[in-house]
């Protein structure tokens, strides 16, 4: 009897040392906490939303319609218009923003520049402002008799005020200007930190060989920052796909649906029109698919580097 007990305890002790269950257990309990929370607040709603996207109907009168919501997406002109707007935003806005952010970061990285901290703070500051607050301010800046129109008229650049919010072209421009202002500083920080890792001796060598500032920028800085540029352009693209606050508050998606984004369309489907939560979640899964698509591209491209 005693021996078997002893054997057992030795055995279990051995096992303990083998698998370290106690240490593992502690770890797992800590992990469990976040796993439960993530399952409860991320995966469960996601699953529910996925199920919801196969249903359609007004409010609570939902019924299963299979993939009809998804086929409807392709023949829904409003969705396609929102998709088109979103694509326009990231095709134009993301490159512009990244070029500006690159230029700022290189300028601010210059060790001879005075008040570097001040400039960095000034350019980064927009990134900490509230989305709604800055949207409202942009709306007033670009109103028909707002300060932008006043300045342009006083400079005799335009004879009549531009109706920013009532013209499909200018309304898009305003949105692009707004997001660019808001996010340039944020992206600049990434480049600035990446630039710290670029060895100064490379530039020195380049200068010795007579490379101009432009050549240094295009032949050294850009190649060295390539992974970061890739990263920021993907995150910016994903951010653009989820764009909501700016068009909602500045233009309301108008004129017509010239500045409508996919996220805003989801809002309209759920709260502005007779609510069809099923179709709205189908639209949101369309965003998910696109984000997954861009993320895969990011992984692929970044993977090549390594």
């Amino acid at each position: 009897m005693e021996t078997t007990n002893l054997n057992k305890s030795i055995k279990s002790k051995n096992e303990k040392y083998k698998f370290r269950p106690k240490k593992g257990l502690i770890g797992w309990v800590f992990v469990l906490l976040s796993v439960i929370l993530i399952c409860l607040f991320y995966f469960y709603p996601m699953l529910q939303a996925l199920l919801l996207s196969f249903q359609s109907g007004a409010g609570v009168n939902l019924e299963f319609v299979g993939i009809e919501n998804y086929t409807r997406l392709f023949s829904d002109p409003t969705f396609l218009a929102a998709l088109f707007n979103t694509v326009i935003y990231f095709l134009i806005q993301v490159p512009v923003m990244i070029i500006i952010a690159l230029m700022f970061s290189v300028m601010l990285n210059n060790k001879k520049l005075k008040f570097r901290g001040l400039f960095r703070t000034a350019i980064f500051l927009p990134a900490v402002t509230s989305l709604v607050a800055y949207s409202v301010i942009f709306k007033y800046l670009f109103s028909n008799n707002g300060i932008i129109n006043t300045i342009l008229t006083n400079l005799s650049l335009i004879s009549e005020p531009i109706l920013w919010m009532s013209d499909p072209f200018w309304a898009k421009i305003v949105i692009i200007l707004a997001i660019t202002w808001r996010w340039v500083g944020y992206n600049m920080i990434f480049y600035l930190s990446a630039l710290q890792n670029v060895d100064e001796s490379i530039y020195e060598a380049a200068r010795m060989d007579g490379a101009s500032a432009f050549q240094q920028f295009f032949k050294i800085t850009i190649p060295m920052l390539k992974p970061i540029i890739l990263f920021t352009s993907i995150t910016s693209t994903i951010g653009t796909l989820q764009l909501f606050d700016e068009p909602m508050n500045i233009t309301g998606g108008g004129p017509g649906n010239a500045t409508l984004t996919i996220s805003q369309y989801i809002y309209n489907l759920s709260f502005e029109y007779t609510p069809d939560f099923g179709y709205a979640s189908a639209v949101s899964f369309a965003i998910v698919v696109m984000i997954v698509f861009f993320s895969i591209i990011q992984f692929k491209l970044a993977g090549d580097k390594k």
Binding site: K22, K23, L25, I26, V29, F30, L32, L33, I36, S56, A58, G59, V60, N61, R72, S75, D76, P77, T78, A81, K139, S143, N144, N145, L163, W164, M165, S166, P168, T251, G252, G254, P255, G256, N257, A258, N268, S270, F271, E272, Y273, T274, P275, D276, F277
Partner: protein, 432 residues
């Protein structure tokens, strides 16, 4: 040491989970108790108008029910719509108010989307006491759900001084159609340099006003069938709109503040809108005596076109939760049957109701010096009785957005029939 860590970790986990669940039930109990104990809760927007009206109603009701307590929760209309949608679709009634204010254009979609969530009040109000268009807007299949509140009866607010300069009086504006009004507008612009009116291309209120004055809506009688391609009043309204833009008679604003500025700074000569706009016009005291209200012009070449229409307006709805009887009693004994209360509404805040006995008892015979002594409230109530009855249906705002895009195409030179045809197709695919 390890044991302690393990204990600590599990303790945190348990505590957290426990806190989550117990927190939930505490909160839930708190709100449901709150509802029962503290009387009737109302969600409404606009403190100067809707909530003021509620306060006047509370006072009137308290005279007979001294224990009555009304909790008004103010939210923006958009927020109310959002909160109602999320609460009702989640299936929980906790935290919902007893009474909620809903815009007439929007209410059918709520009643349809959440059929059991609203309390039917058929029989609690005398249907014949209210203007017919308002009853049509608040009922489904002869079942009444809403206690009517304000009318959105429209009028054309005009600057008499500008008209005079161009050689017109308000007499010339009675019983005209839009084509005639546009001619007047051209003359006014020539003489004074002021545009005729101002509009937001993204707000289709004016089109809704025009088509209802022609007895039509975006959907047919059933409230579901899309009615765009063969909708003569809608076509006429589109033509009027384009004419106003092409003749450069329409100034453009892009939000409410810019609209107010255009009106109060005197940069436009008129505005066709709902009577609830009166306080906004009167806010500019220097223009006292320079305004008048005339019936809106009728749609040209439309059979049965009238000079009366509606813009906005809302009604009170009782939710199907505890306390509904008390809520119904409060609403019916104030908004539903009290002529003296409506008199208070108009004298204290200029709100025009749709309660016919109040009109008959002369509650609205008040001359207003701001409008040159005109009895504007009386005029509005007279016009409100002529408003064509239409079914606002389920999809007003969805079709609004489609037509706003169609209008852009039309203004850019598109063919009207083709533009409307594609709008019809789009509406049919989008709305199911």
């Amino acid at each position: 040491m390890k044991k302690r860590l393990l204990l600590l970790a599990s303790l945190i986990t348990i505590l957290f989970i426990a806190a989550c669940s117990s927190g939930d039930s505490d909160e839930a109990n708190g709100t449901s108790n709150g509802n029962e104990a503290d009387g009737i809760t109302v969600w409404a927007w606009d403190p100067k108008f809707n909530i003021k009206a509620l306060e006047i109603a509370e006072e009137a009701y308290k005279a007979e029910n001294p224990d009555f307590q009304l909790n008004v929760i103010e939210n923006a209309q958009d927020d109310i719509v959002q909160k109602l949608n999320t609460s009702l679709s989640s299936g929980t009634t906790k935290g919902l108010p007893n009474i909620v204010l809903i815009e007439d254009y929007r209410v059918k979609s709520f009643l349809e989307a959440y059929p059991d969530s609203f309390h039917e009040i058929t029989g609690s109000i005398e249907v014949s006491d209210f203007t017919p268009y308002k009853i049509a807007a608040t009922s489904i299949d002869d079942k009444n759900y809403g206690v009517p509140f304000d009318t959105g009866a429209t009028g054309l607010y005009v600057r008499t001084d500008y008209l005079e300069e161009a050689g017109y009086t308000t007499e010339d504006l009675q019983d005209i159609d839009w084509n005639e009004y546009i001619e007047i507008g051209k003359k006014v612009k020539e003489v004074t340099g002021k545009k005729l009116l101002t509009n937001d291309h993204n707000d289709f209120g004016i089109i809704r006003v025009l088509i209802q004055s022609g007895g039509s809506w975006y959907t047919e009688e059933d409230g579901v069938t899309i009615n765009i391609t063969d909708n003569e009043p809608l076509k006429a309204a589109f033509k009027v709109y384009k004419e106003l833009v092409d003749a450069d008679l329409m100034a453009v604003h892009s939000d409410w503040n810019q609209l107010l500025e255009a009106i109060n700074s005197g940069s436009v000569a008129s505005i066709p809108t709902g009577n609830w706009f009166t306080p906004s016009i009167k806010a500019e005291e220097s223009q006292s005596g320079n305004w008048a209200v005339v019936p809106i012009p009728s749609l040209p070449e439309v059979e049965g076109a009238t000079h009366a229409s509606n813009l906005g307006g809302s009604s009170w709805y009782v939710l199907n939760i505890d306390g509904k009887e008390e809520a119904v009693d409060f609403l019916t004994s104030t908004f539903g049957s009290n002529a003296a209360f409506y008199q208070d509404l108009v004298t204290e805040m200029g709100a025009v109701g749709t309660y016919i006995p109040a009109m008959e008892e002369g509650a609205y015979e008040i001359s207003d010096d701001y409008f040159g002594g005109q009895e504007i409230y009386n005029d509005f109530t007279k016009w409100s009785e002529e408003i064509p009855e239409v079914n606002y249906g389920l999809h007003t705002y969805a079709i609004d957005d489609i037509l706003i895009v169609a209008m852009q195409d039309y203004l850019n030179g598109g063919d009207l029939d083709k533009v409307l045809e594609s709008a019809q197709k789009q509406a049919e695919t989008q709305i199911k």
